[in-house]
Structure formats: structure tokens, C-alpha cells
Amino acid sequence: MRAEPAERLDPRAKTLWRITGALGALPLLAVGASVSWSLLRVVGVPSLLGILPLLAALALSAALAGVVPDLRWRRWRYEIREDEVDLQRGILWVSRTLVPLARIQHVDTQSGPLQRRFGLATVIFYTAAGANQIPELSAPVAAEVRDRIAELTREQDEL
């Protein structure tokens, strides 16, 4: 196959993902803590065993907020070629996606409140079989990518 896609996401994505990862880990911690509490207080298992759920939740949270954003960012790559959009993503399950520009029906950019804080935006493009996205690009880059996809899509003249 051709070489990896050339472009990376904005580095600020890592910080954003850390924050969302930490927020996502809160309910996990709550569940771990309450399970541990009820094991220790209500069931009365040995303290070493009872603390396990909390530890597991802590470890998972640390991974979600610490390691995962880094790995994810390092893997995520994209490239807009003259005939296709080329995406690569995934930490364990690495997937490479090719979407012909000729099949793209329209392109959006979106940015949520947290993304705006960091000056980031997501490019979403739709085909007849569903949507694909390039997340966390810096806002000007996202606008540029969106316009480029839109323009190239118009130019496609396929055999």
C-alpha cells in the first residue's frame, strides 16, 4: 500500500482528549469506589480484595486521561489526495480508510464548546453510506480542509 497519510492532527488535541478522558473517567471512578465500599462495609471481604475494584477503576482512568490520548494522536493521520481522502486511526485495531472524493456528498465543520476553547474543529464528510470525520484540527486548518474537499469533490470526473 502507499505510504502512511502525511498530515497529523493538531497537537492541542492531546490536551483536549485528556480533559474529555478525565471527565469520562469520573463515573467509572464513582462505580469503582461504591463497589469497593459496599464490598468492604456491607459484604465484609478482606480489605485487600475489597480495594481491587477501586484500583482497577483508578488504573483505567489513568490510562484514559494519560496514555490513550497520546497513542491515539500518534496514530491518527490523514491526507487529502487528488482523488481520495485517506485516514488512519485506532490504537489496537488500526484501520485505514479510503473515501473517493467522487462519492462525497457534502462536507461540514463542527466545533463544540470545549473544542472552541482550544481553537479546534472537526471536519465531517458524508457519503451515501454514512459519515467519516477528521477530528481536532485547528480551526483555520479545518476550514481549509473542508474547502479543499468541497472543491476537489466538484472537480471529480470519474471513469
Binding site: M1, R2, E82, D83, E84, G90, L92, W93, V94, S95, R96, T97, L98, V99, P100, L101, A102, R103, Q105, Y126, T127, A128, A129, G130, N132, Q156, D157, E158, L159
Partner: protein, 490 residues
């Protein structure tokens, strides 16, 4: 092109009234029964309910008349116009250019009056709900509407010839299709639910009677259970056959120009139109009960327009595997190929077997962890039973491995896989919306990858997937199925 506004066939009043009554019945049946039961079936309540039902029927009839009077349609100024609504007046205008197809359905009530429901579907419309539906038109009105809205392409002489019938489902094939439909499971669970209901009502069979009958035919309890299961199975099998007969009786596939027509159904006659250019992929499904007899069914994924999702429909419910190519050649020649498929590399076999054995091993591990908590003897038995499952699981994995394969010929991607049924999917390169090559760590180590292509279809896109093909094959497949641009020129 212009015409005056038409009313629907008067049968529309009755159909509307029945629809209203049906809605009321479903809303009031449970409270009604509750009231009846709590009042102990007193004459007064029964009379009250009867009076209420009578009043409701009269009201529904009146409403049916009013809404019939309010509903008109016309074709004028290059658009189809539908006006309806008794209190709130609605009007919908559909430009004739946007009309994709005009389908007809004939329910039981419509059959009594010799009318059909006409559904007008447009390019932007959803798959489930038609954009305009006329519940009752007679044949003549339907034909003239078809002509007016018309695909204006077919010339009058061709119109007279009508579509050519490609294949009809014979009664024998219909029954075989039902018997091998593999919907026994669905029917089985349905019966289970119903029998539970009956149990609770309790007065359909007296328990004593059932017990005595059972004791007479099957003295031991094991035999009784076996007999019960057998009876259940037989009943659900018959139910599955009945379901197929209802849906597919008189299945006829015909073609005229660039349109395929499907007619089917015993009580409710359905006619559907599939424009050839909207077909995205064809699937040849060899059900687990059908494959041994060399039988298959044929499905098509057809897309809506733009973002609207399409549908996955049965193109033909049962035919010999070897005549699939011939039928496709006549119905959708673009898809008529039968290439020799590339098998998966031998190193993929282990992964297939492991993938289906793993859940069983996990279950065994869970059981052995839980064993100290349970009675020893029982735990040991369960443990052995679970371990015995390993063999069928391994066989299943091996069968899936054997069924899998792929090919790329004549600009078509052909992919075969098995879940229970063995399914061969065929899609042209130009219809592929995206391609994925996916690898997990284990696949990376074995130099394998999963290839997946998407086509537009109902429910967010149909997939054509090959799991565990050689890493290099996956990549070159993704590459070769890419777009080919027309070079040069402004």
C-alpha cells in the same frame, strides 16, 4: 399536462374508518378488559361498552366520510398535488421530476373493493414512509395516474407489451422456501410467548386435561418433555411456512427497460419497483437448510437518493444456486458473474477456529472460577458440558473459514462469507462508498488484515467484508478498487 382534482375511490372512507377503529381498539382493549373484569361482567357495563363501541363506529364512519371528501389529488403544472385534512388543511406538492417510483399495495379490505393503495416515492424520501400515499384507487385511476406522473420514457407500444416476466415462484418452490426459511427460531419464540399468555389466562386448556393426555401418550416425564419440544418445533415450523406463504405467494419478478417489478403476497398483494440504476449490490444467500440442496435466495441493496437510506429487498426468494447467474443476466446483467474465489491463506484458519472457540473457553473459565461456590458434582458436569461445546465451536469456525473468499473481476468486487447462511455479495467498484483495511495486533503478527467496503443501503450502509485475508492482498484490493480519474481536459 393538466387535469382536474380527483377524489379517491369511496372505499377510502371505509379504509380510513377501519384504521381509526383499529387505533381505538388497541388503545382501549386493555382498560376495557380491566373494567369488565373488575365489574364482574355485569349487564350494565357490557351494555355501556357496547354502546360506546357503536358510537365510536359511527364517529369513525363520519370521520372517514369527511376525510374522503377533503382528500383530493391532481397532476398539474409539472407537479403532483395532494390535499388532505378535515380540520387542518394540508397540501403537498411533489415535482414530477422527483418521483422515483409508484408502488401499489393491496390489503385485504382493498381487495374486497378491487382497489389498490398507491405509494408515490420521491428521490429525497425516507425508505419506510412513502412521500404520498393514496389509500384507495381503482385500477383505471391508478393507470391514468401512472401515465400522468409517468416515467414518460416508455413509449405507448412498449406499454402495451408490458414488462416481461423473468421468473415466477411455483407453489412447490414456495412451500420449500417456507420449510427451509430458517425462521423456526422466530416462530418458536412467538409460540413460547403466546403459550405463556395462555398459561396466565389459564382457561384455554385445563391443566388436568393436558396432564392426563400427556400421561396417556408418554408415561415418563422425559418422554413428555421431548414430545412437548417436538410438538413445539413442529408448530413453529408450520408457522414459519405460513409466514413465507403469506409474504411470498405468487412471487413474480419482471423487467421492463431499466426497471424491475416485484409482485408478491397472498392476502396483501404488494407491487414494488426497483430502478436498475439504484441497485448497489446483490447478495446470494445460501441458508444453512438450503445450501445442502443447492438452493439460494437473492437480495438486492438499493439506494435512495442523496442522504436518504435505501432498502434491502428480496429479489427472488428461492431458486437453484446454478440458475442464479442466468436470472441475474436477465434481471441485472451488471451483476451477473460467477468468478472462482480466492481462498484465505492457510494461516487464517487458526484465527477463525480460535475466534469461535474463545467464547466457549471463557465460559469454561468462568464456570471453573464459580465451581467452588456450587455443588461439586453439578459443577463438574457443567464444566464437561461446556468443554464439549468446544468441538462444535471449532467446526463452526472451520466452516466459516472455508466459506470465506473474495474476487475482483470485470470491475466487480465479489465477497463470500458465512454467519449461518453462506452469503456471496457482489458490488461494482463504482458503487463502493469507502474501503477500510483493519488490523488488530494478532492479525498484524500473522500478516493478516480485514478488508471492508461499504455501499449505500438501508440502515446506514451495507458492508462487504472479508476477515483475515493476507495483509498484502487486503492492501492491493483497497488500492485496485479506488477511483480512476479521467485525465486531461479542463
Amino acid at each position: 399536462m393538466s387535469s382536474e382534482a380527483h377524489h379517491l375511490h369511496p372505499a377510502a372512507m371505509l379504509i380510513d374508518a377501519i384504521k381509526t377503529i383499529r387505533r381505538w381498539v388497541s388503545a382501549f382493549v386493555i382498560p376495557g378488559i380491566a373494567v369488565l373484569a373488575s365489574s364482574g361482567f355485569s349487564m350494565r357495563t357490557v351494555a355501556f361498552i357496547l354502546f360506546g363501541a357503536l358510537l365510536a363506529t359511527a364517529l369513525a364512519g363520519l370521520w372517514g366520510f369527511l376525510s374522503w371528501r377533503a382528500t383530493t389529488y391532481e397532476v398539474s403544472g409539472g407537479a403532483f398535488r395532494l390535499r388532505w385534512g378535515v380540520l387542518q388543511k394540508n397540501e403537498r406538492t411533489i415535482p414530477l421530476d422527483h418521483v422515483q417510483s409508484i408502488d401499489t399495495v393491496q390489503g385485504i379490505v382493498q381487495r374486497l373493493f378491487g382497489v389498490v393503495e398507491v405509494r408515490i416515492e420521491t428521490a429525497g424520501g425516507g425508505a419506510s414512509e412513502p412521500d404520498a400515499s393514496l389509500p384507495a384507487l381503482d385500477r383505471a385511476a391508478t393507470e391514468s395516474l401512472r401515465r400522468e406522473v409517468g416515467r414518460r420514457e416508455p413509449v405507448e407500444t412498449e406499454e402495451a407489451a408490458g414488462p416481461t416476466v423473468l421468473r415466477r415462484l411455483s407453489l412447490r418452490e414456495l412451500l420449500i422456501a417456507g420449510a427451509t426459511s430458517g425462521q423456526i427460531g422466530v416462530a418458536f419464540s412467538l409460540i413460547a410467548v403466546f403459550s405463556q399468555l395462555f398459561d396466565e389466562l389459564g382457561n384455554f386448556f385445563s391443566e388436568e386435561l393436558v396432564r392426563r393426555t400427556l400421561e396417556r401418550i408418554a408415561p415418563s416425564s422425559v418422554a413428555a418433555i421431548l414430545l412437548l419440544v417436538l410438538a413445539f418445533g413442529l408448530l413453529s415450523w408450520l408457522l414459519a411456512i405460513a409466514g413465507t406463504v403469506l409474504a411470498h405467494a405468487g412471487f413474480t419478478l419482471s423487467r421492463e427497460g431499466d426497471f424491475l417489478y416485484i409482485k408478491r403476497g397472498l392476502l396483501e398483494r404488494r407491487e414494488a419497483t426497483i430502478p436498475l440504476r439504484r441497485i448497489q449490490a446483490v447478495r446470494i444467500v445460501e441458508g444453512i437448510l438450503r445450501q445442502p440442496f443447492g438452493l439460494a435466495s437473492l437480495r438486492v441493496e438499493s439506494a435512495g437518493y442523496g442522504e436518504a437510506s435505501g432498502v434491502s429487498t428480496v429479489l427472488f426468494p428461492l431458486l437453484p444456486r446454478e440458475s442464479v447467474e442466468n436470472l441475474l443476466l436477465e434481471a441485472a446483467p451488471e451483476f451477473a458473474v460467477a468468478p472462482a474465489l480466492e481462498p484465505l491463506p492457510a494461516r487464517a484458519r487458526r484465527r477463525y477456529v480460535l475466534r469461535s472457540v474463545l467464547p466457549v473457553l471463557l465460559l469454561a473459565a468462568a464456570v471453573s472460577l464459580a465451581a467452588p461456590l456450587a455443588f461439586d458434582l453439578v459443577a463438574v458436569w457443567v464444566y464437561f458440558a461446556v468443554l464439549l461445546l468446544v468441538f462444535p465451536a471449532a467446526l463452526y469456525g472451520w466452516l466459516r473459514y472455508r466459506a470465506a473468499g473474495w474476487a475482483y473481476t470485470g470491475d466487480l468486487l465479489v465477497v463470500r462469507s458465512r454467519l449461518l447462511a453462506r452469503t456471496t455479495a457482489i458490488a461494482p467498484r463504482r458503487r463502493l462508498q469507502s474501503r477500510d483495511v483493519i488490523r488488530n495486533p494478532l492479525q498484524r503478527r500473522a500478516r493478516l488484515a480485514t478488508f471492508r467496503a461499504r455501499v449505500a443501503s438501508g440502515g446506514g450502509g451495507g458492508e462487504l467484508q472479508v476477515t483475515d485475508l493476507g495483509s498484502g492482498d487486503a492492501e492491493s484490493l483497497a488500492e485496485i478498487l479506488g477511483p480512476r480519474l479521467r485525465r486531461g481536459g479542463g
